[in-house]
């Protein structure tokens, strides 16, 4: 069959839906989950309603830093519809006032001693309906004794700064951790004899995942069986179950976590938030199901933020543009509690890949993380565990170097890319890039953009005083954690199970440990199984998000579903197929070695008329009559896949912007994205992921920041203040791809979910800074709002923090 690969910008019509090729395996097909989503029939946590269910609302602190003097709950308790009012002191009596974070720190479920960020959880009310619960919050009287807040991250380590974490024994400052990677001395040696060095401070502001669906849960503790069922907005249901077992002391077999449809996660639904724990406690206390659903403001001001790095970048290079070393010193704002959801050995996530896509002599990073009176979080928002920051640093720095050398930034990158024969390539910070062929990807993006023509156009426009910019980023991602020997979350190894069962009629159900939040698992995983065993995707049910009915695994974040669970799905299918082959040999009365596999059936080599389909085999496996010696009935298997390495997708992005010289408004005119995520399973889903990530990038680069005033009040508590880009702000994305399979992944696939979020911000910022070159501007920090761009044009650029 000839498969027509439509260009990204072709529009499907009802008669010719290029995205619906109904493949048995890889290729474009419409998403199996979409019929319910486009009809508004998804079932989210807040759609769960149980008989007798009560509603929980949380009282939050108006102060960023204050001691709690007293809490009077009597008026709230007198509200006729209120069933319970609970404070931190009451939780403390049961040892539940504090809980572990995913970084082995602790976080208050409800504040007992003092509040440490504005909107921290102080008390909760359970009432008959949502309105009464919210009304009763106004009846709780809390007396606070305000303390000096630590808001400016640059002053957090000052000797006179207030100590935020006085709950930690012996804590005398606001230092969270120091982390180093690479070789300090070797890097210094390269800098000492380099012809050119450049240095630039750059800030990746605090941003927020801001998923369409906020966090929510329904906790139902059955009084008779003692079993807890928790419907929850979680990206990692199995990991959450284990953590609840360890924290609450509930036996793990008595906990069932159900993650129903999830309206976006982006990392924000990896942590366990106080609201979930409060709902569980409330259900335990009252003996009825309890729902907690946070509102938009609560989501923006209290759940896991992302980024918040002040990075000083340095590059050592030769005069002719050979990049020799990269060094960085980072000050990381972790908020009031270290809630980063990184693998334990990686306190800065995978920031170590800040060496980028370049062949270096040396590299070094020193990072200090500090506590401030801001909401906790840290790794969230499609960042591949801090690679967003790393890629921004190196790709911005390469442009700073290009500015200093007066060299074309494309040429400079091409001169330094790791060469194909160097793979697997070990970076100076110890990461082993599995595969790559970078230059063709870069050349393809340049060809699609018409790079030379764009530069000519820019030169003409500059003559006329018009401001046009061209920005490039070339990124390498590291996605698909584990392996388990290196990577774990709170001691749980980052490996994933998968189970496949073929029913007698040849229909299948595949059970995943990972949970989709919009990535299209129900389609992609059906296609992976289909490709391996020849059952059409529509005959394969993908089941996930229920810990009682799926094998253990670590969840969906860091683009790990396809690299880890996708591999598990392929391998478990091969295991089933191996058994099918033995059964087929019995049915066809030939040896296993004499069978030939044509996707969906085994035939006798040299006699294609003698064949059995996978459906025939499934019926035989369950049917009457004997199976070959030693073969059990049934056609199913289960495995747990432990990846031997991460996968390293990469891409070349080119952004074209126009800046209005009078108003300083930035218009993203074109954006060319060439991605390489290895083997492509469903190109339409990949394009969708890329489109979403690129749009995220426009948001971060041009309009978003979670900012605070000097008292620690969060100024981005609504979507009126924290802007989500719309179709109006983005161009018609021009996507392309190259394919460099991963050598260790069974089907050669790499993750794609975060590539565009990682790769696009530097391309956009580089384009804006390039447009402002006539003003002598070498760097400007995000978010590049019209006001900030105009101030930069006046020579008044100020960092956002």
């Amino acid at each position: 069959m000839t498969v027509t690969e439509p260009s990204a910008n072709q529009i499907p019509t009802p008669d010719n839906n290029l995205n619906d090729q109904k493949p048995t395996g890889f290729g474009r097909m419409l998403r199996k989950e979409d019929p319910r989503f486009v009809r508004g029939l998804g079932q989210y946590c807040d759609d769960v309603t149980l008989p007798g269910m009560l509603h929980l609302a949380i009282l939050r602190s108006p102060y960023a830093h204050a001691r709690i003097v007293s809490i009077d709950t009597s008026a709230a308790e007198a509200h006729p519809k209120v069933k319970a009012v609970v404070t931190g002191a009451m939780l403390a009596e049961h040892g539940l006032a504090w809980m572990p974070t995913l970084s082995n720190d602790v976080q208050a479920v409800l504040a007992t001693d003092k509040v440490r960020f504005q909107h921290q959880e102080v008390a909760f009310v359970v009432a008959e309906d949502r309105y009464s619960a919210r009304d009763a919050l106004e009846l709780i009287d809390v007396e606070y004794d305000p303390l000096d807040p630590v808001i400016d991250v640059r002053k957090a380590l000052d000797p006179d700064a207030a100590i935020i974490r006085d709950d930690l024994e012996g804590k005398t400052d606001n230092h969270c951790f120091n982390w180093q990677t690479g070789d300090d001395a070797a890097t210094q040696a390269v800098f000492d004899d380099a012809e050119v060095t450049v240095k630039q401070e750059m800030i990746y502001p605090r941003v927020h995942p801001a998923p369409m669906e906020t966090c929510a849960c329904v906790a139902d503790l059955d009084k008779v069986s003692g079993k807890l069922t928790l419907w929850s907005t979680t990206q990692a249901p199995h990991a959450h179950r284990t953590v609840y077992a360890l924290v609450a002391g509930l036996p793990e077999h008595k906990i069932r976590i159900i993650a129903p449809d999830i309206g976006g996660g982006f990392g924000g639904k990896v942590p366990i938030y106080p609201g979930y724990v409060c709902a569980i406690v409330a259900s335990l206390l009252i003996g009825k199901p309890v729902k907690w659903a946070e509102d938009r403001t609560e989501n923006l001001v209290s759940t896991g933020f992302a980024r918040d790095y002040i990075m000083i970048g340095e590059i050592a290079a030769s005069r002719d543009g050979k990049i020799r070393a990269v060094r960085t010193n980072v000050l990381a704002d972790h908020g009031a509690f270290n809630g980063v959801a990184s693998p334990v050995k990686y306190p800065a996530g995978f920031f170590g890949v800040f060496t980028g896509s370049y062949d270096l002599e040396a590299a070094f990073c020193n990072m200090d993380a500090v506590f401030t009176n801001k909401a906790p979080g840290g790794v969230a928002y499609a960042c591949s565990f801090r690679i967003t920051e790393a890629v921004y640093l190196v790709e911005r720095m390469v442009d700073v170097l290009a500015y200093e050398l007066d060299m074309d930034p494309a040429e400079l990158r091409l001169k330094n890319l790791i060469q194909p024969e160097q793979f697997p390539y070990e970076t100076k910070t110890g990461w082993i890039y599995d595969s790559g062929d970078y230059e063709p990807t870069m050349r393809k993006a340049m060809a699609m953009a018409g790079y030379d023509e764009l530069r000519r156009e820019q030169a003409e426009k500059r003559e006329r005083g018009e401001l046009m910019g061209i920005g490039i980023s070339f990124f390498t991602e590291a996605v698909g954690a584990g392996p388990r020997k290196d990577m774990d979350i709170l001691g749980l190894g980052m490996a994933d199970g998968c189970e496949l069962r073929i029913h007698p009629t040849g229909k299948a159900v595949v059970r995943l440990s990972v949970q989709t939040q919009g990535q299209g698992h129900e389609t992609t995983f059906a296609q992976i199984v289909a490709e391996e065993i020849g059952i059409p995707p529509e005959d394969i049910e993908v089941f996930h998000g229920d810990t009682d009915n799926t094998p253990f695994g670590l969840g969906t974040y860091g683009s790990r579903s396809t690299p880890v669970s996708g591999a598990a799905a392929a391998l478990v299918t091969r295991k089933v197929k191996d058994k099918a082959q033995i059964i087929a040999s019995g049915m066809l009365e030939v040896s296993v070695a004499d069978l030939q596999w044509d996707k969906g059936s085994f035939s006798v080599k040299g006699d294609p008329t003698k064949s059995v389909t996978i459906q025939d085999i499934a019926m035989k496996a369950h049917g009457a009559g004997d199976l070959p010696e030693g073969v059990e009935g049934g056609l199913e298997a289960q495995i747990c896949y432990n990846p031997s390495n991460l996968t390293y997708p990469f891409g070349a992005y080119i952004c074209v912007v126009d800046v209005d010289p009078g108003t300083a408004e930035v218009k993203v005119r074109r954006f060319i994205a060439v991605d390489d995520c290895g083997t492509q399973i469903n190109p339409m889903i990949i394009e969708g992921q890329v489109h979403g990530g690129l749009t995220d990038g426009v948001g971060m680069a041009l309009m978003q920041m979670i900012n605070f005033d000097e008292d620690g009040n969060c100024l981005a508590g609504s979507l009126m203040d924290y802007l989500i880009p719309t179709a109006m702000e983005v161009p018609d994305w021009e996507t392309g791809h190259t394919v460099t399979p991963s050598p260790h992944h069974p089907i050669g696939a790499k993750g794609i979910g975060e590539s565009a979020t990682v790769g696009s911000p530097p391309a956009i910022v580089n384009a804006v800074v390039d447009a402002l070159k006539p003003f002598g501007i070498r760097h400007a920090d995000m978010p590049l709002t019209p006001s900030r761009v105009w101030e930069a044009m006046q020579g008044n650029h100020t960092p956002p923090i």
Partner: protein, 292 residues
């Protein structure tokens, strides 16, 4: 989901009924029309009215765009979308379509109303600047009759208007002048965002000179801008880039913006000038038939 505090709700069956309800319920009652300012404030509990009087049924009395010889009368319940789509309105006052295209988004425009926008009196609200530039007059009704006030008297300050308790805005009247046109320019961080700053201009030509011109500014200070010096500078002047620049300087000098997350005071002051120039340039081009 953000939930408002408890409140009582009544649907008015006529303007007289609505006014009678307001007189009876006092200052704890609020009129709800499109609800796109009031309801978000109630959900955030920034506003906690005890009574809502819903006037959305009063389409016959309050929703219209009527043209007479010398003025346009627009009912207070006229939706943004109707202002955007009216070709007749756009032909005479293109500033309305310019502004409505960049006010919020289609969902808001389908419900939000002219009267609601003016009565909310948000300093960043676009239609106040538009009506200011067009020398609009506001008709306010109470149980004893109605009065007509100029935009400058109507808009008393941030979130404060000449509409007293027991009164409601029912109509906006805009004078139609020959040889005139108008334009609106806005800078926003994102489609649907409030203005960082915006400016609307209306000019009346007399041959080769500007007989009369007005500029309304938005989001550059707590109150409507004092447009008189701008009008004085434009009167009987031939249009030119130099004139626009001079008037832009006056607009900037009259602006008193505050620094916030949308932009610095310096930038907004610059925009007062830049957007005044752009809107004047376009209004004159339209009035002289050089541009639509």
């Amino acid at each position: 989901m953000q939930v408002p505090a408890p409140f009582e709700y009544e649907r008015a069956t006529s303007v007289d009924h609505a006014i009678a309800l307001m007189e009876r319920l006092g200052d704890e009652a609020r009129i709800v029309a499109g609800g796109h300012s009031l309801l978000p404030m109630m959900k955030l509990r920034l506003a906690m009215p005890e009574y809502l009087i819903d006037i959305n049924d009063l389409v016959d009395e309050l929703q219209y765009i009527r043209f007479t010889e010398d003025e346009v009368r627009i009912g207070a319940l006229t939706r943004h979308q109707q202002l955007l789509e009216s070709d007749e309105l756009a032909a005479i006052f293109p500033i309305f379509r310019d502004a409505e295209k960049v006010i919020a988004d289609p969902v808001v425009r389908n419900k939000g109303t002219l009267g609601g926008s003016l009565c909310q009196a948000d300093p960043s609200e676009d239609l106040s600047a538009v009506c200011d530039a067009l020398e609009a007059k506001c008709v306010i009704r109470n149980s004893s009759g109605q009065r007509v006030v100029e935009m400058h008297d109507f808009h008393r300050g941030p979130y404060e208007t000449a509409v007293e308790d027991g009164e409601m805005l029912t109509e906006v009247r805009i004078p139609i002048k020959p040889n005139s046109s108008s334009a609106y320019h806005k800078v926003e961080r994102r489609a649907g965002d409030w203005a960082v700053a915006s400016a609307g201009a209306a000019v009346t030509m007399n041959g080769d000179v500007i007989a009369d011109g007005r500029v309304g500014l938005c989001a550059v200070g707590p109150n409507l801008t004092n447009v008189q010096p701008i009008s004085d500078a434009l009167r009987n002047q031939p249009p030119s880039e130099e004139l626009y620049a001079r008037v832009g300087e006056i607009a900037a000098a009259n602006a008193s913006p505050a620094t916030d997350t949308r932009g610095t005071a310096a930038y907004k002051t610059h925009l007062a000038k830049e957007l005044t120039i752009r809107s004047l340039r376009k209004a004159v081009a339209r009035a002289t038939g050089q541009e639509i």
